[in-house]
Amino acid sequence: MSTEPRVVAEGVSKWFGSLVAVSDVSFDVGPGVTALLGPNGAGKSTMLRMLCGLARPSRGTVRVLGRDPRADVDVARAIGLVPQQESVFEPLTAHGFVRLAATLHGLADPGAAAAAALELVGLDPADTRRLPAYSKGMRQRVKVAQGLVHDPAVVVLDEPLTGLDPRQRAAMIALFQGFGAEGRCVLVSSHVLDEVERLGSRILVMSQGRLAAAGDFRELRALMDDRPLRVRVRTDRPRELAGALLEAGTVVGARLDGDQVLELDTNDARELARALAPAARDRDARLLEVLPLDADLEGVFRYLVQR
């Protein structure tokens, strides 16, 4: 599988009058799943619009599969967009709506392609109800079906898990992971961080119109050396263990939480990992649990957008 970048943004800025929505953002995205994260107003939607050719960058360039998605219809056909909006597009049946997308993309048998795409997201192609009669979750799945019906090489998903129940979310996540594993470029914008974490570890974080971070979020956490890593340790002798680690300078802070729980702040997670077990052995303490507290995606995200 080629790891060549499929989506490249170089020095992209976008402003509306005096409002700067995106400022000098550069990144590239290869095959697999990448999550685009950021608080409201961070510029994610504007960025996605530029990636899909819906808006022109005020400065900089956007390339999808090496070409300009706004100027090149052929590359636009290789993009599958699942939009965020919740309004119903057209008062068609689900099959009619997805078939329209398939026909526009020039598939030879749009009816069959639409039926297959709807079945893939767990909907009945023979359902005669029109989209306004569908639940929010069903409409969400119809949007996913229309975005995938033409077998796109680049899939752009804007909040694709909104409105889905846990079972459907799990199915969608598996579907997107499968796409990524097949070598497609899957770019997901989402606010649901724990589900983004299940999708994959590669993230782009936008904050205030700028790119705050790009890469594997665990590696990003390791780079945040100006912020102590918090680790929870459960042990039968927390006071003795905290004393030993503070004395050795392995941790910069320790807090007791009850009789057995100790929360440690360290600037060097590797050093703590090396020193913890010998310190426990020396103090005759039993280590019952060791758990990093803010090494998850949410911790990384919170840090990146609040710094």
């Binding site: 056909r77 909006q85 057209e90 026909t103 526009l104 893939l120």
Partner: protein
């Protein structure tokens, strides 16, 4: 199916599409047909068909009445039949109403519902999108600018009132010229107005205002205040009917100031309206930011 070796598991996941794909131009045709069906209410509930059907009835009524009289009254003088040239004048209101109905229905819902974003993120760029929408509105307008005239021609020929075999091709060309010019002009102007709002009702009112306010103002100024005849060039529906009279060599407005204007000036005025409408719509869509 008795041996285990015959057992197979089939993947139920995503099926890749390896078949042929049509050229991007196919998307224009697809969207044009989809839009045409939508504006005519085809494949939609009954209430969506009422207004298009009513307007079509109004547009065809003069032709049907004229042909009906010709069929029923065998010795009806030809002068009593409605002429090709005056047809555009008779159905001027229906043309404006239809344009006010069709163009907003073609353009506004896409921006309001977000379909525009889906179209532009896929196989259509802005020019192709507008080409599809323009083709759909033009086809709908042709149904009432060209349809009744062709119907009259066919019916009059059958009833014996029509032109001779030698004159028919020439008349047919004139009908195509009038119908095509009128449809193109109404489509361009109404699409331009509709491109400025996402609300169908506002667009419909806007189309009616743009078509009729200049008519009232210019005609009043020319007829009552003695303003120069060139002011009539601001009256789009008036230009359409005037050009129709001239193409069919039927001069109706004896003594009217517009007689001072040559047919080329009238044609240029209509062409300017059409070009201005198309350009305004195109420029508007250059600037529109599509949402998802």
């Amino acid at each position: 199916m008795s041996s285990q070796q015959e057992a197979r598991l089939f993947g139920l996941g995503y099926r890749r599409y390896d078949g042929p794909r049509r050229r991007p131009a196919w998307a224009i045709l697809t969207l044009a047909v989809f839009t045409l069906r939508r504006v005519l209410g085809l494949g939609r509930g009954g209430r969506h068909k009422v207004l298009p059907a009513l307007t079509l009835v109004i547009a065809y009524a003069p032709a049907l009445v004229s042909v009906g009289f010709a069929a029923l009254l065998e010795d009806l003088p030809v002068d009593d039949l409605i002429t090709y040239g005056e047809y555009m004048f008779f159905i001027g209101s229906a043309l404006a109403l239809f344009a006010a109905l069709v163009a907003p229905e073609a353009l506004c819902p896409d921006r309001r519902s977000g379909m525009l974003g889906l179209y532009l993120a896929g196989p259509l760029d802005r020019d192709r999108y507008l080409a599809a929408k323009g083709a759909a509105v033009l086809a709908a307008m042709l149904a009432i600018t060209l349809g009744p005239l062709l119907f009259m021609l066919a019916a009059f020929v059958v009833a014996g009132y029509g032109p001779s075999a030698g004159e028919t091709p020439g008349l047919l060309l004139r009908i195509l010229a009038v119908g095509g010019t009128a449809a193109l002009g109404y489509a361009a102007v109404s699409l331009a107005v509709a491109s400025f709002t996402t609300r169908r009702a506002a667009a419909a009112v806007g189309v009616v205002l743009v078509l009729f306010v200049p008519v009232i103002a210019a005609r009043s100024a020319v007829e009552s205040a003695g303003a120069p005849a060139e002011l009539d060039l601001l009256s789009f529906p008036f230009l359409v009917s005037e050009l129709s009279y001239r193409i069919f060599d039927e001069f109706h407005s004896e003594g009217q100031p517009i007689e001072e204007l040559s047919s080329w000036v009238v044609a240029a005025g209509l062409a300017a309206w059409t070009a201005a409408g198309a350009l305004a719509c195109w420029l508007r869509y250059r600037r529109i930011e599509a949402h998802r």
